[in-house]
């Protein structure tokens, strides 16, 4: 595997002044390699989303540094695509309009003519299974369909880095399994690491984390800290058979053991 560092978080802390000086994350150091599928898991309130926003350039860290290709991140950029937890779909755009938004209005569409954009949007719509809903507006869609639109919009822009905040959480179990495999295909699990995109993927579903990840960053809360980074040495390409492997089960058990106490505390209190 190529070991070029794509994203680097070095001693990153983020404090929100508005919420009475709440510390969202503290002293997080993490490197994400080019072509790596990094999954962040942790209980709610552990600052996963804050970390993602820092990588996206939407929030500046209070302490520490964050960089992409060894250049400091000073703001959002089209090479880092974001899928937001609340989808951030434009209510005045149809499914078609939302998915093609970045291609029509941003640098993602540079070098593509109208026909090229149309082909890309069409292909992405087919990929996420939204054919037939092209002309619907977001408010006419179910939560799961909205999530697919957001996923499709991210994919259509073809960013180098995909930052995804619980992108499959609203889907039913079957669709979720299908899209997990699609996501691995889009990421490039059949290609050499140098040709893969880099993914940072937030989830609270441990089985999903194990199935997708090269490495899993486990976080704890109050304040959000990195508790462990775990290698997932499961063979690729991963398929249905991967889910049934005993290694898959034992890894999931291990990760659960790391966050179990805190998850219980958060639930009981």
């Amino acid at each position: 595997m190529s070991s070029r560092t794509k994203l680097r978080l070095d001693g990153v802390g983020k404090r929100f002044d508005a919420a009475g000086g709440t510390v969202a994350v503290e002293d997080v150091t993490l490197e994400v390699t080019q072509g790596e599928f990094m999954v962040i898991v942790g209980p709610s309130g552990c600052g996963k989303t804050t970390l993602l926003n820092v990588l996206a350039g939407l929030d500046a860290p209070t302490t520490g540094t964050v960089s992409i290709d060894e250049r400091p991140i000073r703001g959002p950029g089209p090479e880092r695509g974001v899928m937001f937890q609340d989808y951030a779909l434009f209510p005045w755009q149809t499914v078609w309009g939302n998915i093609g938004f970045g291609l029509r209005n941003g640098p993602a569409g540079d070098g593509l003519d109208a026909a090229g954009i149309e082909r890309r949007v069409r292909a992405t719509i087919d990929l996420v299974g939204l054919a037939g809903s092209e002309h619907k507006y977001p408010h006419q869609l179910s939560g799961g369909m909205r999530q697919r639109v957001a996923l499709a919009r991210l994919i259509a822009n073809e960013p180098e880095v995909l930052l995804m905040d619980e992108p499959l959480a609203a889907l039913d179990a079957q669709t979720r399994i299908i899209l997990q495999e699609e996501l691995l295909r889009i990421w490039g699990q059949d290609r050499p690491a140098a040709e893969r995109r880099t993914v940072v993927f937030i989830t609270h579903a441990i089985d999903e984390a194990v199935f997708l990840a090269d490495r899993i960053a486990v976080m704890t809360s109050h304040p959000g800290r990195l508790k462990a980074v775990i290698d997932v040495p499961l063979p690729r390409p991963r398929t249905d058979a991967t889910r049934a492997l005993p290694e898959t089960q034992s890894l999931a058990q291990h990760i659960w053991s790391l966050i179990r106490d805190e998850a219980y505390r958060a639930t009981v209190t």
Binding site: P76, V82, Y137
Partner: protein, 265 residues
């Protein structure tokens, strides 16, 4: 079964009720007005006759068209200035900081209060009337546009930023459509205000011009009031003003619905 009959009664009754009261009021008006014995007192039958005369002679349609022309001109000027300014206020905090105090200090000054200046500068003709309409219509549009542009879901702005859109592109593709419902509300309020202002302006300009040739529905009312003392015709004008306002609002609403297909359902 009972639910069905309930529903159908629920539909029929409000419709009957909503015309019952106006009809009762018309009847009371007719009886009370006739009882006084003064033939000049406006009552529904006389007003109807006056309306038919005014429409047949073409005087009323002409006056309405003149007023409407001024309203549209003033309204267009107001929208042309207020929408870009409101968007800039919503998109740039620095613009808002500088412009908002200015707007808020002029806003309470009624349009009719600038009439003396308008007449002095522009005379008693159409330009003065248009200026007053534009002044009146400007404020509801700018205030609503700015509020709408500021209320846009910040995640949408962030999403656009992560897709690498320029600031200008974000304004045209996120802030403008996001503010459109609020702009629509501003335009509807402004249309009502503009129509009110034109009648007031024409009344006053008509008074100043001594019933001269400035025209419009307001001036027509002034002539009926000050020269020929035709109360029935004044009432006709009042009703015409109300009906035109209603039609303008409905047309604007229909236009908004077409411009914002995502807002329906």
């Amino acid at each position: 079964m009972s639910a069905v009959s309930h529903a159908s009664r629920g539909l029929a009754l409000p419709a009957a009720r909503s015309i019952a009261l106006p009809i009762a009021l018309l009847v009371v008006w007719q009886i009370a007005g006739t009882a006084g014995g003064n033939p000049r007192t406006p009552v529904p039958t006389r007003v109807l006759a006056a309306a038919m005369q005014l429409v047949e002679s073409g005087d009323l349609p002409l006056a309405l068209l003149q007023s409407l022309g001024r309203v549209f001109a003033g309204f267009a000027i107001a929208a042309g200035l207020a929408i870009p300014l409101g968007l800039a206020m919503g998109a740039f905090a620095s613009v808002e900081r500088n412009v908002d105090p200015l707007i808020e200090s002029f806003r309470p000054i009624a349009a009719i209060a600038i009439l003396p200046l308008a007449i002095l500068w522009l005379g008693t003709g159409t330009p003065a009337a248009i200026l007053i309409v534009a002044y009146a219509a400007f404020f509801p549009i700018v205030v609503n546009t700015a509020a709408g542009a500021k209320r846009i879901n910040p995640t949408l702005l962030r999403a656009a930023a992560t897709m690498g859109l320029t600031r200008l592109k974000i304004i045209s593709t996120v802030i403008v459509p996001g503010a459109l419902p609020a702009i629509g509300v501003g335009l509807r309020i402004a249309m009502g205000v503009a129509w009110t202002a034109i009648v007031a302006a024409e009344l006053a300009v008509g008074a100043k011009a001594g019933g001269g040739g400035s025209g419009g529905i307001g001036q027509m009312m002034f002539v009926f009031y000050a020269y020929s003392i035709e109360l029935n015709r004044i009432v006709v004008c009042m009703i015409a003003v109300g009906l035109v306002a209603l039609a303008l609002d409905r047309a604007l609403r229909a236009g908004m619905r077409r411009a914002m297909p995502w807002m329906s359902a």
